[in-house]
């Protein structure tokens, strides 16, 4: 082959290959690349954690939904609801004409199917309903009317309603295997009416998921002139990579837990910004009230005064959090307006420690605090606490652990760690989500109630608040319970989270809500 012939062949090959290289880039408009976490499964009834809310808010709809911040509970698939005088019967009327993404009608039968599926599967989201709701007590009273009959009055019922995604039973039915309720299929597919349609072939658990806009969403799109057509969810595992990817423009959004030391860096970049929103996520240091020395109130008060709240919140976290005095987030109803937080005061702490020692509390034994190794803030808080407690003669040992291990250990008082650190996020916006499930002794054995606190008066107040439909009365009861719990000092409440999400400046219309952490795509648009 002569040089000229070779050159001609290479030129022809290059011309032939050029469209293969250039065409796709020209044809596609750059989609939204969302760098937050994806859940382990797409089945909205199988899991309930912060990542799963992204699927719930975008691919599915519920009867009610939380919007804005502070979160307002607004009718969503339901147009309205009624409650019987005894608080046991709830009827929801659906909006007419709602379509699933496959074009079929969404009716009361689908709502009944969804709740029965949820209750039968008995997985995470069902826990809010199983104590008061039997599957057979969810019925269709008409094509657009769903009736729930509770076994006992339960005021947070409505607040928990957004937890439940309404699924398309006709889409799931062909894929049901045995008694699995179609879980295997729905774990990687969509069957909802939400504003975005899952593209199943792109899904890789926790790795990738593409979603396309559903033009027929029942809420319409008139609120958003330039909706996002395509969302590519690409979770970034490592914090440093996540921040660099945002700065470089490879992703449009980080998760909403941007490390405080990265805030300035992201804000300084002309292409990116940090959205700061007060959330409802309380950082707590738990004490096992059944284990000495924490069965002694003075010992607990000693620890409550020995944590350097200001140093941690203002210096370690650079003031990007808000001091929280009690178990409920500051910005939630049910909190006494004059509730005073404990302050860092080693002299006061020492007095309480001395009193506890005098009463025989074994403060000289080594006390273990379990931290979640992969969550840096839990490590920092424990280290700071360890240093200050040492000045009081208390030996705190930091034990690295993981969430599943710790929560499994909290099933019994004997196996629950002396202390451990975690957050309580917003699963539903009601004091029941915090003080109700954390300090009513009926929840002992769950991780939320892992301080094993018992106070008959508090139990009574919380149960009364749970059963009452009078909002003013509930507010009063929760305030009373909160005062008592804070006085008993069963745990150490440190701060309410300021959610920090790094965003590309081309993202417009981002609206934060503590439920879902601002991941609702239908509200956003992109500037290209």
């Amino acid at each position: 082959m002569g040089f000229r012939r070779l050159r001609t062949t290479l030129l022809a090959a290059a011309i032939a290959a050029a469209p293969m290289i250039a065409a796709p880039a020209q044809a596609q408009q750059r989609p939204m690349v969302w760098g937050d976490s994806l859940p382990a499964t797409l089945d909205p009834h199988a899991i309930f954690d912060v990542p799963s809310q992204f699927i719930l808010l975008n691919a599915y709809d519920g009867l009610y939904r939380y919007q804005a911040n502070p979160p307002q509970l607004v009718p969503w698939l339901a147009a309205s609801h009624t409650t019987s005088a005894d608080g046991l019967t709830w009827e929801f009327t659906l909006r007419p004409g709602i379509k699933f993404q496959d074009g079929s009608d969404l009716t009361a039968d689908d709502v009944v199917y969804s709740f029965r599926r949820l209750l039968a599967m008995r997985r995470a989201p069902a826990a809010a309903f199983t104590p008061v709701l039997k599957p057979e007590n969810v019925t269709a009273a008409g094509p657009l009317t769903v009736r729930f009959v509770l076994s006992s009055p339960y005021a947070p019922f409505l607040s928990a309603m957004p937890l439940v995604a309404i699924v398309n039973q006709r889409a799931i039915a062909p894929h049901v295997q045995g008694d699995d309720w179609g879980t295997a299929w729905l774990s990687a597919n969509g069957a909802g009416s939400g504003a975005y349609r899952i593209v199943p072939e792109t899904y890789q658990a926790r790795v990738a998921l593409d979603m396309e806009r559903f033009p027929g969403h029942f809420m319409g799109w008139s609120h958003n002139q330039r909706p996002i057509e395509s969302v590519r969810s690409r979770p970034v595992m490592e914090t440093s990579t996540r921040v660099l990817a945002l700065l470089r423009g490879e992703i449009d959004a980080t998760d909403s837990y941007l490390p405080t030391d990265q805030v300035e860096r992201v804000d300084r970049n002309p292409r990116t910004r940090v959205a700061r929103d007060e959330s409802m996520r309380v950082f707590i240091i738990r004490m096992n009230n059944r284990k000495p020395p924490f069965d002694n109130r003075d010992a607990r008060l000693c620890f409550a005064h020995a944590f350097n709240y200001q140093g941690f919140n203002e210096i370690v976290l650079r003031g990007l959090v808000v001091r929280n005095a009690g178990p409920n987030p500051n910005n939630l109803w049910g909190n006494p307006p004059d509730l005073q937080p404990y302050n860092f005061d080693l002299a006061v702490a020492r007095r309480h420690c001395d009193a506890a020692r005098a009463a025989g509390a074994p403060l000289d034994r080594e006390i273990e605090i379990h931290i979640q190794s992969e969550l840096e803030q839990t490590v920092q808080a424990a280290q700071m606490f360890q240093a200050d407690l040492r000045r009081l003669g208390v030996n705190l040992r930091i034990v690295p652990n993981t969430w599943p291990n710790i929560t499994a250990a909290t099933a019994q008082a004997q196996t629950t760690p002396d202390m451990w650190i975690h957050w309580v996020s917003t699963y539903f916006v009601d004091p029941e989500n915090w003080i109700g499930q954390m300090y009513d002794s009926q929840f002992h054995g769950t991780w939320k109630a892992s301080s094993w606190y018992t106070n008959a008066q508090v139990d009574a107040l919380l149960r009364q608040a749970r059963g009452s439909l009078d909002q003013a009365e509930r507010d009063r009861l929760y305030q009373q319970a909160t005062r008592q719990v804070v006085a008993d000092s069963p745990d150490i409440w440190v701060y309410n989270t300021l959610n920090l999400r790094g965003l590309s400046r081309r993202v417009q219309g981002y609206q934060f809500s503590p439920v879902g952490s601002g991941g609702e795509m239908r509200l956003m648009s992109l500037e290209n």
Binding site: M20, I21, A22, P24, A25, Q28, R30, P31, V33, A40, T41, A46, I47, F48, R122, R123, A124, P125, A127, A128, T130, P131, D180, A184, S187, Q204, A205, R206, V207, A208, D210, R232, R234, P235, V236, M237, E238, S240, T241, L244, A245, L247, R248, E250, E374, T402, W403, P404, N405, T407, A408, A409, T410, A411, Y427, Q437, G445, T446, W447, K448
Partner: protein, 337 residues
């Protein structure tokens, strides 16, 4: 040779069976209860016990082990406790990414490590030898996650010439899945743009992963060549007038490289385990990150399957290494008769 290969394969079977049992026992004695996580926030102890019973977690450990062995033998790893999907399906999605990264890293480590080791030996105590020594000590000493971040900062952020993360440009999507390797599938699909993007994306993770292997291979090759250079047949070849390059590249290297080949087999296992950190930093969706997620979620079925699959891959690679050794030096197969 066929008998030798068959024997090597048969010898791996008891090892794999032991691996199945050992990993099962380990996974059940470590703390952590998936039932608690599955049951959710407000679940009562009774609800947790109910879930434990449904997933068979309350059965005697011997019974659970027997069920597990039976399932593995039939190729059924069960369903992930969290996703509800077959674990085999999830691993099939992840394994090709790890193998792709590991093979490219191994190729880089071998293609650069052997010549570097040879050059270092030929320049014994000379400048090249010192340079290779520094490189190999550094390669073994530098933590891969630190190196990964440094490479990201320099090549992606400062120079802006290589992508930061992932396997392919998000805007391009993925090629139709045939093998699961983006490099191969993009070529099969005739998408040169995707192939080019995949090549660019694999550079930094592969280099990070390859460096410790490269150092090991260079060091073993160097010592093997130095030892071989002292042999009588080398002295004879020199006396017979063989050129330095021909002597080193053909006669010395072939005799010296056998130890290196053994190391390459062992390295493969190290690379797969080393891939955990590299995959996390570069968002490489492979088995390493899948294993980490399974550990954090106490998804023991997924964890067992990953351990077993890695064990099988490792065993296969070591059989291949044994065969390659026998091909290079037929005395190896002869010794096993």
């Amino acid at each position: 040779m066929a008998r030798y290969i068959l024997r090597r394969i048969l010898l791996t079977l008891p090892a794999l069976f032991g691996l199945v049992i050992l990993t099962f026992v380990l996974s059940r004695v470590i703390p952590g209860d998936p039932a608690t996580a599955l049951a959710g926030d407000a679940a009562t102890p009774a609800q947790i016990a109910d879930i434990r019973a449904r997933y068979g977690l309350d059965r005697p450990i011997i019974e659970q082990a027997a069920i597990h062995v039976r399932q593995v033998v039939t190729g059924d790893f069960g369903r992930s406790i969290f996703s509800g999907r077959p674990v085999a399906e999830e691993i099939a999605q992840r394994l090709p990414a790890t193998l792709e990264l590991t093979f490219v890293a191994l190729f880089l480590a071998t293609a650069l490590g052997i010549p570097l080791g040879l050059l270092a030996a030929l320049d014994h105590n000379g400048p090249v030898d010192h340079l290779v020594r520094v490189l190999s000590v550094g390669g073994l000493a530098i933590a891969s996650f630190w190196l990964a971040i440094m490479l990201q900062l320099y090549f992606s952020m400062d120079l802006d010439i290589l992508p930061l993360r992932g396997r392919i440009d998000v805007a391009l999507g993925m090629p139709p899945r045939v093998t699961g390797s983006v490099l191969i599938d993009s070529l099969l699909a005739g998408r040169l743009d995707m192939f080019a993007s995949a090549c660019r994306h694999i550079v930094l993770p592969a280099v990070t992963l390859a460096l410790p292997g490269l150092a090991t291979i260079a060091r073993f090759t160097r010592s093997g060549v130095l030892e071989t250079l002292q042999k009588d047949f080398v002295l004879y070849a020199r006396a017979a007038g063989y050129g330095r390059v021909r002597l080193a590249a053909i006669y010395v290297l072939r005799n010296a490289v056998n130890v290196t080949v053994t190391q390459i087999g062992l390295l493969f296992g190290a690379l797969i385990s080393g891939a955990v950190a590299v995959e996390a930093v570069f968002d490489w969706p492979g088995l390493g990150t899948y294993a980490v997620q399974a550990i954090l979620a106490a998804d023991y079925k997924a964890l067992l399957a990953v351990t077993l699959v890695v064990g099988v891959v490792y065993a296969v690679v070591n059989v291949v290494v044994d065969v390659v050794q026998a091909l290079i030096d037929p005395r190896v197969a002869e010794d096993h008769r």
